[in-house]
C-alpha cells in the first residue's frame, strides 16, 4: 500500500499540470483480488508496477488501484470507483463471475470502458476488452510435456487446485493431451494451490502407490509441497515434478537444469499488466484495442528460462 500511496501522490502532482494543459484527465480504475496466495501476490506486484510506470508515461492519466479480499468488498470498490471517481475505464479481475457481473454492468452503463481479466463475467458482451490466460492450453501444454518426457509411458499422480472452472479446464486439457500415450493417472486429489495441503496429499500418494514415475503438480506452490514430501520419504522412483504458473524459484531451478524440475508451464500473473497497458493505450490514442487477448501458456525449458525469470517479483 505504501507504494500505492506514493504513486497516488506522484499522480496527483502530475495530474494538475496535465489538467491545465489539455483540460482533461482520464481516470482508470483497477480492481483486483488481494494478495492471498503466491500467484495473486505476483499479480498485485505487476499491477502496482504498471500503474507506477504508466503514470510517468501518461501525465493525463490518473489511476485508482484497489485490492479486495472477498467478492463483496470488490463490489463496493467498483461502486465507489464509478460513483466517486467517475472512472473512464475499469480494469477488473473478478473474484467470482456471478456477484461481479451486475456491478461491472453498471460501470459499463455509466459510460466506462470495461476490461475484464482472467475470469469472464456471467453475461456476455459487457466487456470491451478481455485479457486472459489459456487454461485448456495450460493443461494441454503440461500434458504434452509429460507425454514427451515419458516416451515409454508411465504412472503419474495429479494434484488439482481449488475446485473451480479454471481447474476443470486445465485438467481436461491435460487428459486430452495424454490420451493414447500409455500414461496412467493413478490418482487425482485437490491440493488447493497450497503448499501445506499438497505436502499432505503427496505423502498419502507415496504411501498408497509404491511406484510413481512423475507428478503433475499443476502449480508451482503445490510443487514445493510435493518436492518436500518426496524428499522426506526418500523415494527415488519419481523422475520429475511438473509445476505450473512460473514462480521465480521454480524458473530458477529449470534454469539451473535441476533434473526434478526439468520444465515449467507459464500462466503469467503479469497478464494484469497487459490489460492495464492496453486499456491505457485505448484511452490516450486512436489505436483500436477492443476484442479478446488470450495469453498463451508457454513451456519453460532450460533453453528459454532466462526470459521468464523476474527476480524482483514476489512470485
Amino acid at each position: 500500500m505504501k507504494h500505492f500511496a506514493a504513486a497516488l501522490a506522484v499522480s496527483a502532482a502530475l495530474a494538475v499540470p496535465a489538467f491545465a494543459q489539455d483540460g482533461e484527465t482520464k481516470v482508470i480504475g483497477v480492481s483486483i483480488p488481494a494478495a492471498t496466495h503466491g500467484w495473486a501476490g505476483g499479480m498485485n506486484y505487476f499491477a502496482q508496477a504498471t500503474v507506477e510506470r504508466l503514470e510517468k508515461v501518461y501525465p493525463n492519466l490518473d489511476f485508482v488501484l484497489t485490492t479486495a479480499s472477498d467478492p463483496a468488498k470488490q463490489v463496493n470498490d467498483i461502486e465507489d470507483m464509478v460513483a466517486a471517481r467517475h472512472v473512464n475505464a475499469l480494469v477488473v479481475l473478478p473474484f467470482e463471475s456471478e456477484p461481479l457481473t451486475g456491478p461491472v454492468q453498471n460501470a459499463k452503463a455509466s459510460g466506462a470502458w470495461i476490461t475484464v481479466v482472467d475470469r469472464g463475467l456471467s453475461v456476455e458482451g459487457i466487456e470491451d476488452l478481455y485479457v486472459a490466460g489459456d487454461n485448456p492450453g495450460f493443461g494441454r501444454e503440461s500434458g504434452e510435456y509429460v507425454a514427451s518426457a515419458l516416451p515409454e509411458g508411465g504412472k503419474i499422480v495429479v494434484l488439482r487446485g481449488i475446485p473451480t472452472t479454471i481447474d476443470n479446464e486445465r485438467v481436461e486439457g491435460f487428459q486430452k493431451a495424454i490420451e493414447g500415450k500409455n500414461i496412467e493417472i493413478l490418482g487425482m486429489e485437490h491440493g488447493n494451490w497450497n503448499r501445506d495441503d499438497s505436502f499432505a496429499v503427496m505423502q498419502d500418494f507415496l504411501s498408497k502407490y509404491p511406484q510413481i514415475d512423475a507428478v503433475w503438480a499443476s502449480d508451482d506452490d503445490m510443487a514445493v509441497g510435493v518436492l518436500a514430501a518426496i524428499e522426506a520419504a526418500g523415494r527415488k522412483d519419481i523422475r520429475f515434478v511438473l509445476g505450473g504458473a512460473g514462480m521465480k524459484e521454480m524458473v530458477k531451478r529449470v534454469m539451473d537444469k535441476d533434473t526434478m524440475i526439468p520444465a515449467d508451464v507459464t500462466y503469467p500473473p503479469a497478464m494484469i499488466a497487459t490489460a492495464i497497458e492496453l486499456t491505457a493505450v485505448g484511452l490516450v490514442s486512436s489505436a483500436p484495442v477492443s476484442g479478446k487477448f488470450i495469453i498463451g501458456s508457454v513451456l519453460i525449458t532450460p533453453e528459454n528460462a532466462e526470459g521468464y525469470y523476474f527476480p524482483d517479483s514476489p512470485f
Binding site: A34, T36, H37, R195, D196, A200, D204
Partner: protein, 323 residues
C-alpha cells in the same frame, strides 16, 4: 445417579477413532504402515499442540480465533529474522536457537495482548481474537509483500531435521506433541490451575468469591496458548521453510473442532486434554483415509469431515443433557 450411560462421553470419541482406524486398515493395507502412521501423527502435531492450549482457553470460558493467523505471522517473522541474521551468525545452532527464541517471544507477546484485552479490559474474547486474527493475517501478507517468505536454502537444510529427524524413528513433532499433551493432562487434572480454569468456565462469579484470581488465570490461558503457537511454528517452519498468506489458514477452526470433539464443553467449565488428542487424530485421519482410498469424489471430502465431526459429538450427547 452414576449410570453406565455417563461413560458414553468417554467412549464416544474413542469409539469414533477406533471405527476410523478399522475402516482405514480394511480399505488400504498401507494405512497401518509405520510411514503412514508417523506421517499422520507429525502432520497432526501443529494443530494438536495448539489445540492443547485451546483446551485450557475454552475450559475457562474463552475462545481464540487468532491462532492460525498468529502462527502464520510468527512463521514469517521467524524466517525474516533468521534470514537477516544469517550474514553475522552463519549457518549453525545459534541461528536456529535465535529463530526459536523469536518464535516463543512473539507467541508470548501475542498471547499476552489477547489476554490483557480480554481479561483486564473485559472485551469479548470473540471480538478481540477476531480482530487480532485479521491483524496477523494482514501483517504476514505485508511482510511477504503478498508472496512467499522463504528461509535461506542452506539454513533450511540445516534446520530441516527438527521436522523430519527424531529419536528412535519417532520424529520431533510427535515427541514434542506427546510432551505437551502429558504436561497439559497433568495440569488440567491435578493442578490448581486446571481446576481454576474449570471453575471460571462454569461460573466466574462463584470462582471470584472463592478467591480464584479470575483475570490472572484467564490471562495465563491465553499466554500459554500463544507460547504453544510459538512451539508449533518452530516445528512448522523447517517442514517447507516458507510462510505465505495461506499459512495456517483455518487452523483455529480445526483446533476448536478438535477440542469440542474431544468432549470439552464449548461454553466452558469442563475440559479434557486427552480428548482433544483424540479429536485432532480423528480430524487428520479423515483426510488421510480419503486420500488413501477412492471411496468418494474429492469434492465431498468436506462433507464427510463435517458429518464425522457431528457424529463424534452426537455419540457423547447423553451426559450433556444430564449436566
Amino acid at each position: 445417579m452414576k449410570s453406565p450411560k455417563i461413560q458414553m462421553s468417554v467412549v464416544g470419541p474413542v469409539l469414533a477413532l477406533v471405527v476410523l482406524l478399522v475402516l482405514g486398515a480394511s480399505l488400504n493395507p498401507s494405512f497401518l504402515a509405520w510411514d503412514n502412521v508417523t506421517n499422520v501423527l507429525a502432520r497432526s502435531a501443529f494443530i494438536g499442540i495448539i489445540a492443547v492450549g485451546m483446551t485450557f482457553v475454552i475450559t475457562a470460558g474463552g475462545l481464540d480465533l487468532s491462532v492460525g493467523s498468529m502462527a502464520a505471522f510468527i512463521a514469517g517473522l521467524m524466517i525474516l529474522v533468521m534470514n537477516s541474521a544469517l550474514p553475522s551468525l552463519g549457518v549453525g545452532i545459534p541461528i536456529v536457537l535465535l529463530g526459536m527464541a523469536v518464535a516463543l517471544a512473539a507467541g508470548l507477546v501475542a498471547g499476552c495482548l489477547n489476554g490483557i484485552l480480554i481479561s483486564r479490559l473485559g472485551i469479548e474474547a470473540f471480538i478481540v481474537t477476531l480482530g487480532s486474527m485479521g491483524i496477523y493475517r494482514s501483517l504476514v501478507t505485508w511482510l511477504a509483500d503478498g508472496g512467499t517468505l522463504s528461509l535461506d536454502f542452506g539454513l533450511r537444510t540445516f534446520y530441516q531435521p527438527v521436522y523430519y529427524g527424531g529419536l528412535f524413528g519417532v520424529s520431533w513433532p510427535i515427541i514434542v506433541f506427546a510432551l505437551v499433551v502429558i504436561v497439559g493432562e497433568i495440569a488440567m487434572r491435578s493442578t490448581a490451575f486446571g481446576r481454576h480454569c474449570a471453575a471460571i468456565g462454569s461460573n466466574d462469579q462463584v470462582a471470584k468469591y472463592s478467591s480464584v484470581k479470575v483475570a490472572r488465570v484467564r490471562l495465563t490461558t491465553y499466554v500459554v496458548l500463544g507460547l504453544l503457537v510459538g512451539v508449533a511454528t518452530i516445528l512448522y517452519v523447517p517442514r517447507l521453510g516458507s510462510a505465505s498468506p495461506a499459512t495456517g489458514l483455518l487452523w483455529e477452526l480445526e483446533a476448536i473442532a478438535a477440542v469440542i470433539i474431544g468432549g470439552t464443553m464449548l461454553r466452558g467449565g469442563f475440559g479434557r486434554v486427552w480428548g482433544t488428542v483424540i479429536g485432532v487424530l480423528i480430524l487428520s485421519l479423515i483426510g488421510n483415509i480419503l486420500n488413501l482410498t477412492d471411496l468418494v469424489s474429492p469434492y465431498l471430502n468436506g462433507a464427510i469431515q463435517g458429518a464425522i465431526i457431528v457424529l463424534a459429538v452426537i455419540l457423547q450427547r447423553d451426559t450433556r443433557q444430564g449436566q
